[in-house]
């Protein structure tokens, strides 16, 4: 027989008992050619392009599920950072450059522009485009559409400033549109004006969506070194180095890895790492199979497989659970960073062997609200924001889905963003911040988001002002290792 019964049963158990699935099939779509000076024309072009490329995405995903017996949880779309298109609008081109430069160059600070002076009409154009994206996402049956984004690590364009200022309205008026803002790169340093602005914007989004536990903030990610081919949300967008259209797949499988770690309770580190690698290999191969089949059926090139461990609210599907099964009493306690470093590295090694095109974020996600055991550790005050910050220096991404008191000041939020972005900038890796200041809630309160986003406890933030630091103007210079040529 071509396969042993053990191999066949292993696959069956992974899918049926350990929750192995493809977390997302994400179609990346270039929208640069939809730019137009007239808003209505741009809306039509965007609608037409996304619809014609992705109308079969959901059905194809379902047909692959049926043919291969592998659950595919989400169908998603990423698009070109929207700020790049909207600069072509007449209304944006008429904005005075002088106001914008005040946010880019300390020399212009004499203008003392505290907040960008952007007309309601300009903001409305961004809201309308977001509504177009929201309705098309619903029409083609995808749960999220990412790319309402701005890359401002070195400075703002007019359009990027407008997009950022439109976020409080966009994220409270749309359901499926996800946004990201890149504020730092290793190559160019950190735009502290953007960091400051994002603290204020996150606070405003939280206020605008206070009726729903400030959930708008769950759809916004602040990045350092954002990647162009991330299939996961909320931080996914279709980068400008990408092709016209491609299929990226995010595989998952904390449950499968957790099972294998459980079975190696007394193993030494080499044996443990080997077994995680082998399992990650199998998981990635399955993801690659799905990605290739989807690409073929949609007549679109295959892009990458993202081999991130993405937890769900199911207890067995927990990254914290893997760490605890590795030998920690509680995730967040001493030993956590080392355990996570080893886990992430072993997953990457297995994934890299399985596919030549591993990309996206690839590593382990630690979204607190989405991981039941992570939340339990936070309730016990063993997992703290500070510990999570150190964990993010060894795994993919960053401070993800963390609820903080609604009373946290915008400058404190900016301080947390700056800390996290520094880890990314200095260590040449992607880091991100997705904080939710839940208006009306305080430390220890429980917040229910429902669905994939789970529920979470509000975590404490150290009360010490960084206002003066954040209020300095300009950019943190690029680190010494940006000079690699």
């Amino acid at each position: 027989m071509s396969f042993t019964p053990e191999e066949i049963l292993e696959t069956k158990k992974m899918i049926e008992e350990q929750g192995l699935d493809v977390r997302t099939i994400t179609m990346g779509i270039n929208l640069l050619d939809c730019a137009d000076p007239v808003l209505e024309h741009m809306q039509e072009k965007i609608e037409h392009k996304i619809y014609s490329l992705s109308k079969n995405l959901s059905d194809v995903a379902t047909s692959i599920e049926e043919d291969y017996g592998i659950p595919i949880i989400n169908r998603r779309i990423t698009v070109t950072p929207i700020s790049m298109l909207l600069g072509s609008l007449k209304i944006i081109q008429n904005l005075p450059l002088k106001d914008i430069q005040a946010f880019n160059d300390p020399l212009f600070h004499k203008y003392k522009v505290a907040k960008p002076q952007i007309s309601i009409e300009a903001i409305n154009a961004y809201v309308k485009i977001a509504e177009t994206l929201d309705s098309i996402a619903e029409k083609v049956n995808v749960d999220f559409l990412g790319g309402f984004s701005a890359l401002v690590h070195k400075g703002f364009t007019r359009s990027e400033l407008c997009l950022i200022q439109s976020l409080p309205e966009v994220l409270s008026n749309t359901e499926r549109v996800c946004s990201s803002v890149n504020v730092a790169t290793t190559r160019s340093g950190m735009n502290m004006n953007a960091v400051k602005m994002m603290g204020e914007i996150i606070h405003q989004i939280a206020m605008n969506t206070r009726e729903k536990n400030s959930i708008g903030c769950a759809k916004l990610v602040i990045f350092a070194n954002a990647v162009e081919d991330n299939p996961f949300m909320a931080g996914g967008f279709h980068g400008i180095g990408e092709s016209e259209c491609c299929i990226n797949v995010g595989v998952s499988g904390p449950g499968v890895i957790r099972n294998i770690v459980k079975h190696h309770r007394n193993a030494d580190f080499e044996t443990l790492a080997e077994s995680i690698k082998k399992t990650a290999f199998k998981v990635t191969r399955m993801g690659q199979l799905v990605a290739q089949k989807a690409a073929k059926r949609l007549s679109v090139p295959f892009g990458i497989v993202d081999v991130s461990l993405a937890p769900t609210t199911r207890p067995f599907d927990s990254v914290a659970g893997i760490l605890e099964d590795m030998g920690l009493e509680t995730a967040g306690g001493p030993g956590t960073t080392a355990a996570l470093a080893m886990l992430t590295d072993a997953v990457k090694k297995g994934g890299l062997m399985a596919s030549s095109y591993v990309g996206g974020l690839s590593g382990a996600f630690i979204p607190v609200s989405e991981d039941k055991l992570m939340n339990d550790a936070a309730r016990k005050h063993i997992l703290t924001i500070e510990k999570l910050e150190s964990m993010t220096s060894v795994c993919s991404v960053g401070l993800d889905m963390i609820c903080i008191p609604g009373s946290t000041s915008p400058t404190t939020i900016s301080g947390i963003i700056a800390d996290e972005a520094s880890i990314g900038m200095i260590n040449n890796k992607t880091t991100a911040v997705r904080l939710i200041p839940v208006i009306g809630k305080d430390v220890g309160d429980e917040v229910e988001f429902g669905g994939l986003l789970g529920n979470a406890v509000v975590m404490p933030v150290k009360r010490s002002s960084c206002e003066m630091f954040i209020n300095r103007q300009g950019r943190i210079p690029a680190p010494v290792h940006s000079q690699r040529n």
């Binding site: 396969f3 066949i8 696959t11 049926e66």
Partner: protein, 89 residues
Amino acid sequence: MKAIVSVVGMDKPGIVATVSTVLADNQVNITDISQSYAQEFFTMIMVVEFDKNKVSLKELSEKLKEAGEEIGVFVSIQHEDVFRAMHRI
């Protein structure tokens, strides 16, 4: 198209007959078969071949599941590619 049928459950008379009847009724050819016991569970793996224009994997999967439920065993069918991707370099 090639697929793998797996059957897991308590051993009893008629399992092979039940499953192979469903396969024969749908013009599915069995190219390999193996049986084993893991703990007290009976496990049967079949490699099968069929024309996907005559019967779809989804239909076959539903029929096999139904037949399995009648005799109290779990029957599932999956495309061979899944196993090839996972277990072969």
